[in-house]
């Protein structure tokens, strides 16, 4: 009995084992065969929206060249997942993402520089090329730019305000007439939002990082905590809850666009992503640059760039370079990506092509003309949280000098 049991188990175990081996054995030659027939495989990681837009083009690239292209959607934490996977050797060959990831991706050795010919480079918007340049090297091929602008409800506010003060006057009047309940929808929340308040900060004279000799941001010259930043936040404080009430912590990333489309405020500071909602709500709107303080400096929004990167540890780097440098640089792809999500294309030719059918695009680009490239250096990661919290505290009525000095100290302590 005992021998029989053991025997049965052993035979079955062996059978299973053999089937396991058989599976992988039969897999391998098959894979090789198909590789011979269809060439190598290219794996691209992107977020959900872009995956859908990329798929037809990826398939076309595959067909044209006899290779397999797989576009995989990573809907959450694409950057972190990419860094982790690339360290494990299981990452993709190409990844699509925002340019401010570059610093972190480079410090983790996750992406390689790309080499573009001079005439390829000149086909792009200059700011976009600057954004993907890090330590003097080009690290990605840009395809779209984005920046915030002032979107206003033209029924409530027909004229674009030239200064923040003008905006506040109009907003207060609308509030008094009960036509709106808020002066300005600029998202802050309890913990602030450095990205959206940045135009006001620059108009007040503040800066984040100085510029090094080679044109890159210099993490050693931190502007937060300097007298200029305090002056800027003193101006912002006047717009806060204890002042004009134009900036409020109760306006958050979740409700700012909804409040604007609900006609509760006439002015919204947001990016191209807010337009779809405004159109859906049948709001008559116009787009202009975020105004600065009267007598202050120019209000400069952050300019962000979306780009394609070649993974340093990809299995098919040559093919990835081929795709990124020779295929992504074609205007057709940029136009398709624009249609998936309306951000201004970084390729000048593609921008000109879609400009005609979408007047908002030119307005957004105009509003971001004097914008500052969002710093891609790793030190930028240390800015967001303390800067935002300082903003929220000051909007709530805290002393600007004390708050900003503390924020500057925290940020400096975190920058290695």
């Amino acid at each position: 009995m005992r021998i029989r049991t053991a025997g049965v188990v052993a035979v079955l175990g062996l059978a299973l084992a053999a089937s396991g081996c058989g599976g992988s054995d039969s897999d391998k030659p098959a894979a090789k065969e198909s590789a011979k027939a269809t060439g190598g495989k290219l794996v691209i990681w992107a977020d959900d929206k872009r995956t859908a837009a990329l798929k037809p083009f990826a398939e076309e690239f595959g067909k044209e060249n006899g290779v397999t292209v797989e576009v995989q959607a990573v809907s959450k934490d694409l950057q972190t997942n990419f860094v982790t996977a690339s360290q494990q050797g299981s990452g993709p060959d190409v990844v699509v993402g925002a340019h401010d990831w570059i610093g972190n991706l480079v410090q983790n050795g996750a992406i390689d520089p790309v080499q573009l010919a001079a005439e390829q480079k000149s086909a792009f918007n200059e700011t976009a090329v600057k954004a993907v340049t890090f330590n003097g090297q080009l690290y990605g091929v840009p395809y779209a730019t984005e920046n915030v602008a002032l979107i206003r409800n033209t029924e409530l506010a027909p004229e674009a305000p030239k200064t923040i003060e003008e905006l506040v006057t109009t907003g207060k009047k609308l509030k008094a007439e009960k036509k709106a309940s808020e002066i300005l929808c600029l998202q802050s929340g309890q913990n602030g939002d450095a990205y959206h308040v940045y135009p006001l900060y620059t108009s007040g004279g503040g800066y984040l990082f100085g510029t090094a000799a080679n044109g890159d941001y210099d993490p050693k010259d931190l502007g937060v905590g300097k007298p200029e930043s305090i002056a800027a936040f003193q101006k912002i404080a006047k717009l806060g809850e204890k002042g004009d009430g134009a900036l409020k912590r109760s306006i958050t990333g979740e409700n700012s666009i909804a409040t604007f489309t609900g006609k509760k405020c006439a002015f919204l500071v947001s990016g191209p992503w807010a337009i779809a909602d405004a159109k859906k709500a049948n709001i008559k709107y116009d787009i202009s640059a975020v105004p600065g303080f009267a007598g202050g400096k120019e209000a400069q929004p952050f300019v962000g760039v979306q780009a394609f990167y070649v993974a340093a540890k990809g299995k098919n780097k040559a093919l990835a370079q081929e795709f990124v440098t020779n295929y992504v640089t074609k205007p057709e792809l940029a136009v398709a990506l624009y249609k998936a999500e309306p951000r201004p294309p970084a390729l000048t030719a593609a921008f000109d092509q879609v400009k005609g059918e979408d007047p908002d695009l030119a307005k957004f680009q105009e509003a971001g003309k004097n914008g500052q490239v969002l710093p891609a250096i790793p030190a930028m990661a240390a800015i967001w949280d303390p800067f935002g919290k300082a903003e929220a505290a000051i909007i709530g009525g805290a002393d600007p000098a004390k708050t900003i000095t503390a924020a500057g100290k925290t940020i400096a302590g975190q920058i290695k």
Partner: protein, 547 residues
């Protein structure tokens, strides 16, 4: 709250309560030896062992490929051990204990050990890989096009079979239309007569003695193509994709002699610093790409000595206890009160009430926390609008704390209600009836009989709930994010738990610092373990009193 059901459920089996079976008569053991082998039993055994073998083989291939011989040895030993154990008839107790032990090791012991070992390193963004990885990254990212050099059109060719033959770059200069063949030996000019090229781009389509690969064929040999560099006087010609090539030069190179990286353009050197895992120049400038090193107790000493971390530590710890005790205590009180009310025999429609009361528990807490956060909004939130208040809930320390506890109460009481209902039904009604016969008031009978008996059953669950809430990152991160923050300290907020505070410290700065996070989580582990150990000991004493 929700996961506290699954994890510590086994804690219900308090020590000392399981029936004692130690003294089983010898006879029953021999009787078991004669127990017939049923067909089902045999099939289950065969399938399970087959699965074990299958998993072992599935896991072996990657281990062999990565040459992890120790891992392979452990795998082989474990599999062999399992087969020996379950194919034999002896070692009955081990047969019951081993599966649990293996899962315990895989899912508890190993992660804890891994966390502990991470705490002694600088593992994190910029320090993820080995030194060799960092050197490769530094060198590749410093490759620059040689100024004024030619951009070639590239065709990848071979001198033999497309899949295996040695690779050659056929390079054509788009301006002069000259064609070169390049391999690791260098560059040779090809005779124009031997070459066919596209008139538009100058790209070589065929050449005598060479097989030109199409993109599909070339892409299979991607790695060889990337690795092939054609040395030239100014640098080396490298492929850029499969159709273009450029003359590039790695500006920075590692020199093993001085263990440093040299920049050939500026002459600057960065020397390896094994203490921090980075290349550091004389002026203190660091190269971006670093590597993982052991830093000893540095992470631990930073937790204790850095005033930014240790300063607010005790305040946070105090609130952390208050939050965990408050969440557990309040939900328990409310849950029990409702359970008692519904337990009363005079109550009608109890089933309907029960269903309604369990609703908050049935909704995903993740989404509910976000909804509650918006309900506490000063201007647009339901709470203020409904009651006509103008409270800046998340803007002031105490209101934020109260709001967080209120949300916890709403999310957590159905669980306490459920378990209290169950425990109440297990208490015989005769006991309370006996007290009322003795003339005790309902309150007295509750205090003296019902509550102690309830606590016997529920104490382990309360401890589990406490331990869970002590580290309840969602409850804080999705509502207040730890805020409100004092204007002069953006690192520590009024509702911060140790875990949210740690998260901000470890991931808020320049990218993730896993080493640091691991060190703080070891501290938190020690605190929770101590509290739980003390509580369990007290519970046991309590049981001895009442049983």
């Amino acid at each position: 709250m929700s996961t506290s059901l699954s994890g510590p459920g086994s804690a219900q089996q308090a020590p000392g309560r399981e029936p004692v079976r130690r003294g089983l008569p010898r006879k029953s053991r021999t009787a078991r030896n004669h127990a017939p082998i049923t067909a089902t039993g045999l099939v289950v055994k065969v399938v399970l062992l087959g699965l074990v073998a299958g998993i072992a083989i599935w896991a072996a291939f990657p281990l062999i490929k990565a040459e992890h011989w120790i891992g392979l040895a452990i795998l082989a030993a474990t599999t062999a051990g399992l087969f020996y154990l379950y194919l034999g008839r002896r070692h009955i107790p081990a047969k019951y204990l081993v599966p649990g032990t293996i899962f315990l090791i895989a899912f508890q012991v190993f992660p804890v050990l891994y966390t502990a070992s991470t705490a002694f390193t600088n593992f994190g963004d910029g320090h993820r890989g080995s030194k060799d990885d960092a050197i490769v990254a530094i060198q590749t990212s410093s490759v620059k096009q040689v100024p004024g050099s030619t951009e070639y059109s590239l065709s990848i060719a071979t001198k033999g079979d497309p899949a295996t033959g040695p690779l050659v770059f056929l390079l054509s200069d788009p301006k002069t239309k000259e064609v070169f063949a390049g391999d690791a030996g260098g560059l040779r000019k090809l005779d124009a007569g031997d070459v066919e090229a596209s008139s538009l781009t100058g790209k070589v389509t065929a050449a005598d003695g060479y097989t030109v690969l199409n993109i599909g064929q070339a892409s299979v040999r991607s790695k060889e193509i990337t690795d092939l560099v054609v040395p030239t006087s100014g640098g080396a010609i490298r492929s850029n994709g499969l159709t273009r090539a450029y003359e590039g030069k790695a500006v920075r190179a590692y020199d093993a002699g001085c263990d440093c990286v040299k920049d050939s353009e500026t002459g600057k050197t960065w020397t390896a610093d094994p203490a921090t895992g980075a290349f550091v120049a004389a002026d203190g400038e660091r190269l971006t790409q670093g590597w993982k090193v052991n830093v000893g107790l540095k992470n631990f000493s930073r937790v204790l000595t850095d005033p930014n971390i240790s300063g607010p530590f005790f305040g946070t710890l105090l609130w952390n206890f208050a939050f965990a005790i408050g969440s557990t205590g309040l939900t328990f009180l409310l849950g029990m009160a409702i359970a008692l009310a519904l337990h009363s025999p005079r109550m009608r429609g109890t089933n309907l009430y029960r269903v309604l009361l369990i609703l908050p528990y049935a909704m995903p807490s993740f989404a509910m926390l976000l909804v509650w956060r918006d309900m506490f909004n000063t201007d647009f939130g339901l709470v203020n609008n409904l009651f006509g208040l103008d409270v800046d809930w998340f803007g002031q320390s105490w209101s934020a704390r109260a709001a967080v506890l209120l949300v916890q109460l709403w999310l957590g009481y159905p669980y306490m209600f459920l378990v209290a209902t169950g425990a109440l039904q297990a208490i015989p009604r005769e006991l309370t009836e006996a007290t009322s016969v003795d003339g005790a008031s309902p309150w007295q009978s509750f205090r003296a009989v019902t509550l102690p008996l309830l606590l016997v059953a529920l104490s382990p669950l309360l401890i589990a709930s406490f331990a869970y809430n002590f580290n309840n990152i969602n409850a804080i991160w999705l509502t207040t994010e730890g805020g409100p923050f004092a204007p002069d300290n953006p690192t520590n907020g009024a509702t911060d738990l140790l875990i949210t505070y740690t998260y901000r410290l470890a991931f808020g700065a320049q990218g993730a610092e896993f080493g640091m996070a691991a060190a703080v989580s070891i501290f938190i582990f020690a605190i929770v373990a101590t509290v739980s150990a003390i509580s369990f000991r007290r519970t046991r004493k309590q049981e001895e009193v009442y049983s």
